[in-house]
């Protein structure tokens, strides 16, 4: 057996096992919030931190394999730690460390499932995500994948007494399993007739181009369902808000990334030789999801639903980056392939921290106010300064503003798109700049969404009198938020170091690396010949110095007199909280501009109403035109079948008789 002190893979497995043990320990005292919260969740966070450290240190090491003694009869589990797995493990460990610390202070008595049970599900969820990333054969992968789906299903339905939440959980489980079928079939194709289901066998298998394409498309369908690509996204805006906030954070921040991991693993490692048109498939679905997601995010009125739609956008951007990676790689443009792969990975890591931070922020708000509806929040920056300022970091990061982390991945992706004019195929050449335009549009819309999100929740006047009693988050919750916010800042300011680590993945998967050439440690210059560079630390310092100088100059030359007074608002005397923009109001330009994409029903007041009511509901076209139609046709078929089933024994005897006659006729 391997020794955990010398082998990073063994250390990772030991830590995943430790998560399992921590989870099981929750069953010792299932009703005690204190035991789960004060002891077990912090322990889980420590495991996560250790996992992140081990994984980061092993990114640049050569791959390591082990065959476990456990598993199905005659089918031992294979595990493998390579740079790709290490990056996703590091992401899982580091993000979950923050989320677990937050959870330690978050879960309260009387919120659905028992705390001990919750602790078990939560840690099983974490461990299964780790196993998905480490699995090196199809069986181990599917077992881990299903454990992940089931444990997260139970976490989503924590408050199972609410019918909507049960429905959201069911939809999630349904689509997760549709996806799992796709993945399973894809593995079936990839074994290539050898009937060996280890990943090594799949790497060695020589597939026909058609079969390879079939395997890719099946895997893309399967992982796309988990990632929430449009049109398989319908579960996501329901399931993420239904779960408790730390679970939403894990699902959005980490679980969606396992699907990204799966696509990368299948495309670049198991199939190994992607065809260029696969890239266009990924790019098309990715860009459409990004755009669709961000438009819907902008019109949401529920804060967690808004974030869920924003996750669809970010996943879309990641898939677009993967798409151009495939195109570049298949056409032999190695430097650009490495650049776009690193952009995809960087965005995965970034999104894990930003989105977890925002979801946890909404969790703190939810606990303090009991409100998820943006229309009943507002002004919380005064009552909850810690949560507000830390959430602001996440909001600015996800809006892609320099010098935070969201901007770095956006910058890398745009660089990759921008220098695609050297692609030897003219029509791709034309297509990619349009892609760049869409990415730019989505990034700008993300800024809109985040101003709405932050502005409506934390700024302005409180829209309800009860908000005056809101309490800031507790110490553990603050630590969790601060950890994630710090990660957003550090990932934004030291891109060279992060890319240095991610380069190992590119070396392993694509056979090329970005390299940094002679550039300095603070200056990001991915393709030196292009002369484009970005130095966030210098930019931040310049900005800080300029701001400081401005403050000092104003202080030195002018007086500092300040008076507080009522708001001016163009001289209107009576201003109340109702006069501010609501979430609906803030989304109105988007509803107006993108009308064809949205399915709206409006209820407008007339001048004679005693109690005027204004209501607008925006629903998803895909759900209405796709899923409901499929549902209706399935029902129609079922009704046809049901006609056969009359429940009268004479009819059934009649069927038997007719069948017998027909068979006899065929035989004779």
């Amino acid at each position: 057996m391997l020794n955990p002190t010398s082998s990073p893979l063994a250390a990772c497995l030991a830590l995943l096992a430790a998560w399992g043990v921590v989870g099981l320990a929750g069953l010792l005292r299932p009703r005690s919030v204190e035991f789960a919260g004060r002891t077990l969740f912090p322990l889980g966070a420590l495991c996560g931190l250790a996992l992140a450290v081990v994984a980061v240190r092993s990114i640049a090491l050569p791959p390591e394999q082990v065959q476990l003694l456990i598993g199905l009869p005659d089918l031992p589990f294979h595990m493998r730690l390579d740079p790709l797995a290490a990056v996703f493990l590091a992401l899982l460990g580091a993000a979950s460390a923050g989320i677990s610390v937050f959870s330690a202070g978050y879960f309260r008595r009387g919120e659905g499932a028992l705390p001990g049970l919750l602790c078990l599900e939560y840690h099983l969820f974490l461990a299964s995500m780790g196993l998905v990333v480490l699995a090196d054969d199809a069986y181990a992968f599917m077992v881990a994948w299903e454990t992940m789906a089931l444990s997260s299903y139970f976490l989503v339905t924590t408050q199972h007494r609410i019918p909507d939440i049960r429905r959201a959980g069911f939809l999630y489980l349904l689509i997760a399993h549709l996806g799992a079928i796709g993945i399973l079939l894809s593995f079936g194709v990839m074994q290539g007739g050898s009937w060996l289901f280890t990943f090594d066998a799949m790497r060695a298998a020589q597939l026909d181009p058609q079969w390879a394409s079939a395997a890719f498309l099946l895997a893309f369908f399967g992982f796309g369902a988990k990632a929430g690509l449009v049109p398989l996204h319908v579960w996501l805006p329901d399931a993420h808000p239904a779960a408790p906030s730390p679970v939403s954070a894990l699902m959005s921040g980490v679980m969606l990334k396992t699907a990204v991991y799966g696509v990368l693993r299948v495309t670049f490692d198991l199939l190994g030789d992607p065809q260029w048109w696969w890239g266009l498939v990924a790019l098309g679905f990715g860009l459409f999801s990004a755009f669709y997601g961000v438009v819907f995010a902008a019109v949401q009125t529920d804060m967690k639903r808004l974030l869920a739609w924003s996750s669809i956008e970010n996943i879309g951007i990641i898939f677009a980056a993967i798409g151009i990676t495939i195109v570049f790689h298949a056409l032999g443009m190695s430097a650009l392939a490495a650049l776009s792969l690193i952009a995809a990975l960087y965005h995965c890591v970034n999104h894990a921290f930003m989105k977890s931070l925002l979801f946890l922020g909404t969790g703190a708000v939810l606990h303090a106010t009991g409100e998820r509806n943006l229309g009943r929040l507002g002004g919380l920056i005064h009552r909850m300064p810690w949560v507000a300022w830390l959430t602001l970091v996440g909001a600015l990061a996800i809006a892609g503003l320099p010098p935070l982390n969201g901007f770095v991945s956006e910058w890398l992706l745009l660089q990759a798109f921008l220098f695609a004019d050297t692609v030897p195929r003219p029509f791709i050449n034309m297509l990619l700049p349009i892609g760049a335009a869409l990415v730019a549009l989505c990034a700008a819309l993300a800024g809109y969404v985040m101003v709405k999100f932050f502005g409506v929740i934390f700024l302005g006047q409180p829209r309800e009198p009860t908000l005056a009693q809101a309490q800031d988050a507790g110490l553990l919750e603050r630590i969790g938020l601060a950890w994630l916010a710090l990660a957003c800042v550090v990932l934004g300011i030291f891109p060279v170091q992060v890319i240095g680590a991610l380069d190992a993945v590119s070396r392993d998967l694509l056979g090329t690396q970005l390299g940094q050439g002679a550039a300095q440690w603070w200056l990001l210059a991915p393709i030196p010949a292009r002369g484009a560079s970005y130095g966030p630390l210098a930019l931040l310092l310049a900005g800080a110095i300029l701001t400081g100088l401005t403050v000092l100059a104003v202080r030195a030359f002018y007086h500092q007199r300040v008076r507080r007074g009522p708001a001016w608002d163009c001289g209107f005397v009576r201003i109340d909280a109702r006069m501010q923009d609501t979430a609906e109001g803030f989304g109105q330009p988007i509803r107006h501009i993108f009308q064809p994409f949205l399915r709206m029903s409006r209820e407008l007041p007339t001048p004679f109403d005693a109690v005027p009511r204004y209501r607008v509901t925006v629903t998803d076209w895909v759900w209405h035109a796709g899923y409901e139609r499929i549902g209706r046709s399935v029902r129609g078929v079922a009704d046809l079948v049901a006609r056969l089933q009359q429940g009268r024994i004479s009819t059934y005897l009649m069927y038997s008789f007719v069948t017998l006659i027909v068979l006899l006729w065929i035989v004779l």
Binding site: G400, G535, G543, R561, C570, G585
Partner: protein, 316 residues
């Protein structure tokens, strides 16, 4: 040479800070002339800023720290943006830290802070202005990026000094793609700087304003910084346009100190022309309804994309 680079950098920052209000004053003067009014002095914006700095700041009761920090952040961001646009010389130390994409990012940062500050007090007009500003922003930002992409594809780099040098070196070469993007850029400039036909910088009529609505709660030194920041923004946009479309006369690496000495009057002359042209554009057009603004900016976006396609098709 390194000393010269630092000097160029410093000179450019100081020139931007000092000249930005004068540029606004010049545009106002031209507008007054065109409209047959007696023109205000070029120094009028300075007087306004000076007056505001001496007033006592009144801050609304419900304002948070964000409200007070935003003017400084917006002003500093605009100065940082001015520092990386090679309007005078192409040897700017800060441009290694921020390329054209980062420049667009900086402008977006300023916009987000402005919008958040406008929502902070929680008044009807503030949130209305913030919403409209973000609406214009999400349309104008990708258009601006596309415009920059065309120049970046021509010069094979997103670094602004490289773009400027490459385009200066071929003053005589005519790029049809740049002609399309120049149209797009003009539209973006008008929208982003709250000019007619999108917004009216001179109005305080509640329902028509965007930029002014966001500044309603500001007073005294905070308002002065915001006004100065807005002037810097207009100045920056003019300089971006100069860099992308008429970069000749900018001091390149080869020219040494003499180039820098020459570059200042050349830049001044270009700004005078740009300001006069802006005044003409504003005088001959009427203000659009707010909901025509998306069409206006979509046109800009399409022109920029067209420019990109023209570049890819013709290679020029």
């Amino acid at each position: 040479m390194n000393g010269l680079a630092a000097l160029t950098q410093l000179l450019e920052i100081i020139f931007a800070i000092v000249a930005a209000p004068a540029f606004v004053g010049w545009v106002n003067k031209c507008r007054a002339w065109l409209q047959n009014r007696s023109a205000p002095s070029l120094l009028q914006p300075y007087r306004g800023i000076h007056k505001l700095f001496h007033k006592e700041a009144v801050i609304a009761d419900g304002a948070s720290g964000l409200f007070r920090a935003a003017p400084y952040v917006v002003f500093a961001t605009m100065v940082a943006a001015a520092a990386i646009i090679p309007s005078m010389g192409t040897r700017l130390p800060l441009t290694t830290a921020a390329d054209s994409i980062a420049l667009v990012g900086l402008l977006a940062t300023a916009r987000v802070f402005l919008a958040l500050a406008a929502m902070d007090v929680g008044t009807a007009f503030g949130t209305l202005g913030a919403r409209r500003e973000m609406m214009l922003g999400f349309l104008a930002e990708p258009a601006l990026l596309m415009i920059i992409f065309v120049a970046a594809m021509i010069s094979q780099s997103t670094s602004l000094p490289i773009i400027a040098e490459r385009l200066t070196g071929e003053t005589m070469a005519l790029y049809p793609s740049l002609a399309f993007t120049a149209v797009a850029f003009t539209l973006v400039l008008l929208a982003e700087n709250a000019r007619i036909p999108i917004d009216n910088p001179a109005t305080h009529l509640e329902l028509t304003m965007i930029h002014e609505a966001m500044l309603l709660e500001y007073s005294a030194r905070h308002l002065a910084l915001m006004e100065w920041g807005a002037a810097l923004k207009l100045f920056n946009y003019a300089c971006i346009g100069i860099t992308l479309f008429v970069p000749f006369g900018v001091a390149t690496e080869a020219q040494g100190p003499l180039g820098l000495v020459l570059a200042v009057p050349v830049l001044g002359a270009k700004l005078l022309v740009a300001g006069a042209a802006l005044a003409v554009l504003e005088t001959v057009s009427a203000k659009l309804r707010v909901f025509r603004a998306p069409e206006f900016l979509a046109t800009a976006f399409l022109f920029a994309v067209l420019g990109l396609l023209v570049h890819l098709l013709l290679g020029a």
